[in-house]
């Protein structure tokens, strides 16, 4: 009877041990699974931030290139600067392999990714840069490919007329500045008017007044003395990103 009990206890011990092992294995498996899910989410966040950083720096490069080209720099500056950026990314010690390539836009408006249209269209001027990017990240957890475009555009529109008082003409202009199609602020506005074929700057002697409405719209008024029936005006504007743009209007 005693031996029977001992044998019985030994069997119970094995069952209890087997159960304990099963619970341990299952709980460990669940814990590891949850942790691996968390790790994947974290790595995805890191990859997302890396892609955002890449887009940010490519956008900054396009802005810098347009600022340079709009101030008399070569149009090829965009390609040169983007190559410098790519070179910097290649020097990084990122986990996995990151391939970034670009093409600058060439079409009827853009040459080498740059479009400067100043005075070709009445009352409107535009400075724009456009580049397409292709990104491929081959990481340990996942492979990501993405294509994106960066378009930086500063545009300005002019509306205006003059009222006459003898030889003196009071010119009223409405100037609107846009960045990527949205109203934007100008850093500075310089105006010129044409008299007898000569472009003259508008300054305080012309009673120049510029009212900034804070929403990208500027009301400008000044006086000029001219015998001409029309007053050609040229507005030269730098936006807050140092991108230069020019627009011309003929006031009647």
């Amino acid at each position: 009877m005693k031996n029977f009990h001992r044998a019985h206890n030994s069997g119970q011990l094995l069952i209890v041990a087997a159960l304990a092992i099963a619970i341990l294995i299952s709980s460990t498996t669940i814990y590891v699974y949850e942790l691996s899910r968390e790790k994947t989410a974290t790595q995805n966040q890191l990859t997302t931030e890396f892609i955002l950083a890449l887009k940010q720096s490519s956008r900054n490069t396009v802005i810098s290139s347009l600022a340079n080209a709009s101030k008399g720099g070569e149009k090829s500056v965009l390609e040169t600067n983007l190559n410098s950026l790519l070179q910097a990314y290649r020097s990084l010690s990122q986990p996995g392999i990151c391939n970034l390539s670009f093409t600058v836009l060439n079409d009827s408006n853009y040459a080498d990714g740059i479009w400067l249209s100043w005075g070709e269209i009445d009352d409107f001027g535009v400075s724009s840069a456009y580049a397409n990017f292709s990104l491929a990240i081959y990481g340990l957890e996942a492979n990501i490919t993405a294509n994106y475009a960066v378009n930086v555009t500063t545009a300005v529109t002019l509306e205006g007329y003059y009222t006459t008082n003898g030889l003196e003409k009071l010119v009223n202009l409405s100037c609107r500045v846009f960045n990527e199609g949205k109203p934007a602020l100008a850093k500075n506005i310089t105006l010129y008017y044409e008299d007898l074929g000569v472009w003259l700057p508008v300054n305080s002697s012309n009673n120049l007044s510029i009212t900034d409405y804070g929403n990208g719209t500027y009301a400008i008024s000044f006086t000029v003395i001219t015998i001409s029936d029309t007053v050609p005006i040229s507005a030269h504007i730098n936006d807050l990103r140092e991108i230069f743009v020019q627009a011309n209007i003929i006031c009647h």
Partner: protein, 140 residues
């Protein structure tokens, strides 16, 4: 014969116990490493996010070009969680160190350290590229 069987069962039980304890140790050690890796990736993501935010309007490059290291430190202090300390080093495209002053908000006394490498492109008329090395640690 029964005593012989009993001895064998004891050996099997002892072997199983040893195996269970060893497995528990092995798995625990492995899990600890994974957890640290997760936290470091988290910290790196936070650091990268702060740099992206600072660079979104070109401020990062402006601080660097103006050599305004105090301003840069204050800006990072605002963007990073209070429990995180950092050390920032800036290099130009030829990997020459740009900042001669230390850009940091305190000492590193944590085992949880993350490293972030960031390419900062300037928005200015003269294009410049900087490589930013950001070391982050959780204050313990």
């Amino acid at each position: 014969m029964k005593a012989h069987n009993k001895g064998q069962i004891r050996i099997v039980e002892a072997f199983l116990s040893g195996l269970i304890i060893f497995s528990a140790f092995a798995i625990s050690a492995n899990l600890t490493i994974t957890q640290n890796s997760v936290k470091n990736d988290d910290l790196a993501a936070v650091g990268l996010q702060a740099l992206v935010m600072l660079d979104s309007d070109g401020s990062l490059a402006k601080y660097i070009e103006d050599e305004n290291w105090n301003g840069l430190r204050d800006a990072l202090n605002l963007l990073l969680p209070t429990s995180v300390c950092f050390n920032l080093t800036i290099y130009d495209e030829n990997m020459q160190q740009v900042n001669m002053d230390t850009i940091s908000n305190g000492g590193f006394s944590s085992q949880q350290i993350a490293f972030v490498e960031y390419v900062c492109a300037s928005q200015g008329v003269t294009f410049r590229v900087y490589i930013v090395h950001l070391l982050l640690a959780v204050v313990t």
